[in-house]
């Protein structure tokens, strides 16, 4: 992954070790305000050309409370806790002393250096913060020590910081940070910041309690959908069910007669009912008689899209990776293996449906929302209302799930358009049906993959052609370089294996009208399935054990180690009952090394039960091991839901799925045993929110192959197995 073009979510982490520049000042109300500036590493393909700065803010109050402004948002991944741990570790304060608040939108202050603006996604937050936030904590600690030493007239070397106070060791005198903050703020920021030796870490590496836990068990945690604004009305909306269609006409007389409904708002492609509460809004929506102009996609079906992708994939694409001589390697090969893999569109189904509360006034606009992209939320509202961005205030909230869905601002734009027609604040809440049928989907893919094997069954040539939508081309156009979407090919261009004579090419295909977007683990969620399934096919063709085959080809020691560990812990090679099998996968994406072994049982009737998943993960230094285990479990179950059931299909231009009955989610009774093994490491942290998702599907389908001899080259499993047997 370190060789992936350095232009976005996959940026190299060594750029972050550059010196952080810090500035201190007196906080309002007294106390130390520390800001930090990190020059963005020079990047040839950076999405934004100018030097990028990252700023976070640490404020220490006179009472010793440490306030941290969170440049990254909390959507369940535990960021608020682990970001706080980084600073508290170096600052020498207990986590209990740390308070946090959501950062306001500000690309200058809160840019994510691995994305290029203020965004939370791509499993980047800890990778992006590891160096600068520890440096912020260390600088503050050094200044507080300096302030204490000067007050006592002693040498700084005789003082040390611990538990929110500076102690003069020889005399055991002590001053709390609160007492020192104001004086410290007057001092120059140290030229050189000395970070703690990892051996001295007291917080990092030990399980920490989530700071957001208590509010989430007693109902006080506030998500975007919980926003309460005086005078607020509630709206729900129906967009044209056919992608690309428009509103023709609507008879709203029956809706307006519903008790509690106050008005009906028309947009170009949607209708919204404004009411006193969601019950009335939904009732009003159901009472509307809407005529749609269904537009050019009125007859579109999934089969059309697959057919178009298949046709597009016949011709060469843009070369994303090329080493050696593929054609010669193929020609010289003893045997060849060919395969076609297909992946469906996927919805996100965050538990909190899309929603946004907006109050548009002549002189400004307020937005209450949970978003992964604060400045984009502000910018889209400014653009629609015509207000300058500084007149748009975005109040961020906890996110009831992100998974990439809230990297998009379509629902915010729609809510602003509705609010412009409403007097006073309005909360727009999508029904689950709207959420599923107007999601922006993980692209569908059509992959052709081919390998040539030598007499020993080992690959001597490899050609992988990916056909599908580019999310990056729409979402971050400057990062779409020379026809290559680095995300769409991630996990394909740099497999961890020694593959001589290798080519990966990419055919961009945009499905008509269907919006595509990021999804948990995005590019790798597709490529790791293809690559790890195909490696399994090669092992089978070579009549070799799939784990041994991989180990023979793996280059990176950390990749080998996780695969060996997962195999060992899973009892790889031990006998299983009839109908059961084990399957493996290994990957190096998001800066994390991971292997999974799934154990699957397929009954004679074709029912699939995933019994167990063993995961070995080397994510560098494990900042909060408890969160890492939770994220791996979470990503595995997100991946398992998609692998077993996930599929958005179209008929007559409309999404056929509507709610959790037709777009299923895994339930507690379907959950396998999951064992997570975290490898000790002194390397800088990798990303952890997403890798577990991409590694899961191939482990499951490889296990199905081991159990049944049926090779699934299409997801989801449920439908594919049915048609394969």
């Amino acid at each position: 992954m370190s060789r992936v073009p350095n232009n976005g979510f996959s940026a190299e982490r060594d750029g972050l070790s550059r010196r952080t520049f810090l500035a201190a000042s007196l906080a309002a109300g007294g106390g130390l305000l520390l800001s930090l500036r990190l020059p963005h590493p020079a990047r040839a393909a950076a999405p934004v050309a100018a030097p990028i700065e990252i700023d976070a803010f640490v404020r220490i109050d006179r009472d010793g409370t440490v306030h941290l402004t969170m440049p990254y948002i909390e959507m369940g991944q535990g960021t608020y806790t682990s970001i706080s741990m980084l600073i508290a570790e170096e600052l020498e304060v207990d986590l209990a002393q740390v308070q946090y608040e959501h950062a306001p939108p500000n690309d200058k202050l809160y840019t994510n250096p691995l994305v290029g603006f203020q965004a939370t996604g791509g499993s980047t937050a800890i990778r992006a913060s590891w160096q600068p936030l520890r440096e912020a904590g260390a600088a503050a600690r050094m200044m507080l020590i300096s302030a204490a030493a000067s007050q006592w007239g002693v040498d700084e070397g005789s003082c040390r910081a611990a538990k929110g106070a500076v102690v003069h060791v020889p005399t055991n005198r002590s001053l709390s940070y609160g007492e020192l903050a104001e004086k410290a703020a007057m001092l120059p920021v140290p030229d050189k910041v000395k970070l703690k030796d990892p051996k001295e870490f007291t917080l990092i590496g030990k399980p920490a309690k989530r700071l957001d836990g208590p509010g989430k068990v007693n109902g006080t945690a506030l998500f975007g959908i919980d926003a309460k604004v005086p005078g607020m009305k509630i709206a729900t909306v129906a967009a044209c069910p056919v992608f690309g269609g428009k509103l023709k006409s609507v008879d709203d007389s029956k809706a307006l007669a519903v008790n509690g409904v106050s008005e009906v708002v028309h947009l170009d492609d949607a209708v919204a009912v404004i009411a006193q509460h969601m019950g009335a809004a939904k009732k009003g929506l159901a009472a509307l008689d809407i005529q749609w102009d269904e537009g050019p996609n009125a007859t579109l079906s999934t089969a059309d899209i697959v057919g178009q992708m298949e046709a597009a994939s016949q011709k060469p694409g843009v070369v994303a990776h090329s080493t050696g001589e593929v054609d010669k390697g193929m020609a010289d090969a003893k045997t060849k293996v060919d395969a076609v893999y297909q992946l469906p569109f996927l919805a996100h189904t965050t538990m909190e449906p899309m929603n946004c509360t907006v109050h548009v006034r002549k002189d400004g606009c307020d937005i209450w929302v949970g978003t992964q992209v604060m400045t984009r939320a502000q910018a889209v509202a400014a653009s629609i209302t015509g207000l300058p961005p500084e007149k748009v205030t975005v109040h961020n909230h906890l996110l009831g799930g992100g998974f990439g869905r809230r990297l998009e601002v379509d629902f915010i734009a729609q809510a602003v358009k509705i609010a412009m027609q409403v007097d006073g604040p309005v909360k727009v809440v999508w029904t689950r049906e709207e959420d599923i049928q107007h999601d922006m989907y993980r692209p569908s893919f059509f992959d052709r993959i081919r390998a040539g094997l030598d007499a020993d069954g080992m690959p001597v040539a490899w050609h992988h052609r990916i056909t599908g939508s580019s999310v990056i081309a729409r979402w971050a156009p400057p990062a779409f370089k020379d026809g290559i979407d680095f995300d769409t090919v991630e996990g394909a261009v740099e497999p961890p294996y020694a593959l001589p004579n290798m080519r990966v090419d990419y055919v961009r295909y945009e499905p008509p009208g269907i919006p595509t977007a990021f999804w948990r683990s995005v590019g790798p969620s597709h490529n790791i399935f293809v690559v790890e399934s195909f490696i399994d096919e090669l092992a089978a063709a070579a009549k070799k054990d799939p784990v041994a085959y991989r180990l023979a080809l793996l280059e990176a020691p950390r990749a080998k180690a996780v695969l060996q560990l997962a195999a060992e812990k899973s009892g790889w090679g031990e006998k299983l009952p009839e109908g059961s099998g084990r399957g493996a996968s290994v990957q190096t994406v998001f800066g994390t090394f991971m292997a999974q072994v799934a154990e699957v049982n397929v009954s004679k009737q074709g029912e699939i039960r995933v019994e167990r998943v063993v995961c070995a993960v080397d994510t560098g230094i494990a900042v909060n091991p408890d969160t890492i285990e939770a994220q791996v479990q979470s990503a595995i179950l997100y991946g398992l839901t998609a692998a077993l059931y996930g599929e958005i299909t179209l008929k007559n231009g409309r999404v056929e799925q509507a709610n959790f009955d037709s777009y299923r989610a895994l339930h507690i009774n379907e959950v396998p045993r999951i064992d997570v093994f975290i490898v000790d490491s002194a390397e800088a942290p990798g990303g952890i929110g997403e890798p577990g998702t991409s590694a899961l599907a191939p482990a499951v389908t490889n296990a199905i192959f081991a159990a049944t001899g049926v090779r699934l080259r299409k997801l989801p499993v449920a439908g594919a197995l049915l048609s394969a047997t």
Binding site: D212, H277, A280, M351, E352, Q633, A635, H667, I668
Partner: protein, 159 residues
């Protein structure tokens, strides 16, 4: 139409249509936002509250069917010994992630432990399989229910 319902021990009078789902009365009319909206069709359990002691999906309960049965929501479940133990177990085992489904999970778990102090895995499956968690916190939910059962049992012995 006017209805008076009893939530967390207090009476509330609201004027809405009789077919208005209880969820929207709780969230939008009364402003108690701990109870969540997830699907609107009793498919996900995010809106679970206790009605007369039983767990129900408030998104499909019309207010006219509530009558005088007392309603308990996540905001007050910690006032019961079972609810308090469940919340403590949830925190001890670090169950939550995004947290959005957890009020519903906790209401379902509390209802289970209130009638079954020592649930088997199958009992847990039966009681909890209507509550979806897209973060996949299910393994810890199961462990937390067992931990809460244990702490309730030891508390009962002590008492």
């Amino acid at each position: 139409m006017a209805f008076t319902i009893k939530i967390n021990g207090a009476n509330h009078s609201v004027d809405v249509d009789g077919d208005t789902p209880l969820l929207w009365v709780i969230r939008d009319v009364l402003g108690m936002t701990g109870t969540k909206f997830g699907c609107g069709r009793a498919l996900c359990g995010a809106c679970t509250v206790h009605l007369g002691g039983n767990p129900v999906r408030s998104c499909v309960i019309p207010i006219e069917r509530v009558g005088e049965a007392p309603i308990v929501t996540i905001e007050a479940i910690g006032e019961t010994p079972v609810g308090r133990n469940v919340q403590t177990a949830w925190l001890d085992l670090e169950v939550v992630q995004c947290g959005y489904c957890q009020p519903g999970q906790i209401m379902s778990a509390t209802a289970l432990l209130s009638i079954n102090p020592d649930p088997s895995d199958e009992d847990i499956n039966n009681a909890m399989s209507g509550n979806i968690c897209r973060c996949g916190t299910y393994l810890r939910i199961r462990d937390a229910i067992k931990a809460a059962a244990k702490s309730l049992a030891s508390g009962a012995q002590k008492g």
